[in-house]
Amino acid sequence: MNAAESAWVPLALSLKVAGWATLVDLVLGIGLGLLLARGRFPGRELLDAVLTLPMVLPPTVLGYYLLVLVGKRGWLGAWLHEQFGIQLIFTWQGAVIAASVVALPLVLKSARAAFEAVEPQLEDAGRVLGLSEAAVFLRVTLPLAWRGILAGTLLAFARSLGEFGATLMVAGSIPGRTQTLSVAVYEAVQAGQDGVANVLVAITSFTCIAVLLLAGRLLPGRTLR
């Protein structure tokens, strides 16, 4: 198998994992972002801090937390295994969990800032015109906050694509099943296969640059052409 062929499988897997992780983060990020922007409850800033932790904690710490939590003997993992026979460790779904935890703060932070920037008068205007709360959210708040959320989402996608430490600890390195691009790079370098590493590194870099350029164009404060 040549270097280009061996790069295709981890790339496809990385895109799948990053795609799912981003989707999970988008849903969670919008929900929690709205809660943090609009909710008035004790411990709000503490919740924000806890949810932002993955951005500052070493990935190995997160990997260990996840291993202890969703491992076969972890308190959530043991329950899942007994009730449903689900084992998350060494599966691509496990990699999705690792990536989504690591990337969640990126969506959450942007979503919270975007929701806070929405003028309450505009929402009130919607209410006065007879829109339900759900309709106000879907037709006023979300469209106004959308660009900020989207920029955060793209960053989350790039971060998920590059996730390594926690993924390696939770999902392991099974070629074709859990061996993502970043893990494949690590393994190629360890085995001294510089040719494979070069191809994988180039693919990862170009994908992330493309995502960052796209995110840059969507950042609030710039005009869309």
Binding site: L67, G71, K72, R73, Q87, I89, F90, L168, G172, S173, I174, P175, Y186, E187, V189, Q190, A191, G192, Q193
Partner: protein, 256 residues
Amino acid sequence: MRSIRPILIARRAAALTLALMATGLAHAADVTVSAAASLTQAFKALAPAFEARHPGTKVLLNFAASDALLAQIAKGAPADVFASADQETMDRAQAQQLIAAGSRRNFANNALVLIAPADSRLVLAALSDLKQPGVRRIALGQPSGVPAGRYAKGALEAARLWGDVEPKAVYAQNVRQALDYVARGETEAGFVYATDAAVQKDKVKVVATVPTETPIRYPLAVVAAGPNAAAGRAFADFVLSPAGQAVLARHGFQAP
């Protein structure tokens, strides 16, 4: 005036940072030892014993899979001693002229074992038992980068079982990660060295000793481009001395 001060502050900050970083750099008297992951406990015990005999020399230990250590040394990592878990990796180091001529010596032997979580209820006594459906995942070192994985793959191929094991294989980055996977119960079985299994003997049980095609013999050598070759040679000598061998024996390694 206004533009000068930030530059001054930046300069002072840079000087301070460099001074702080320099205190962390290796001193001339330090000896850096890159050793296979399976040697972790044994070499951590060897280091203070060596330091006691060579006052002023500090041993810096770097553990990883043998192939990873070789890749680091090939890229110019400042190691003085390289201790590998197999002959093949050292052969490659020799072929790339990374080790000092005549410094290669075997210093310990080990055995490959099949392990299972201590509370496993599966009947595992021979390699062929890995075929049973109850064994869903098997941890072993990545054969392309971890000697313990190569030994395991070789033994399974010799037993004509690789085709059954490969779909269940979970590859670890070094032998200790494979040990950890089994100890946490994430895989039903795994391949590690006898000395590794002893490190977690309350969490894993040895179910079989696996015959390998070539004996598991650990070589060490002085790195040709090492910054402190003299201390490197002294450390290598110490590992092979009766005192060094006694430490290795205490950690379950056999004499070479």
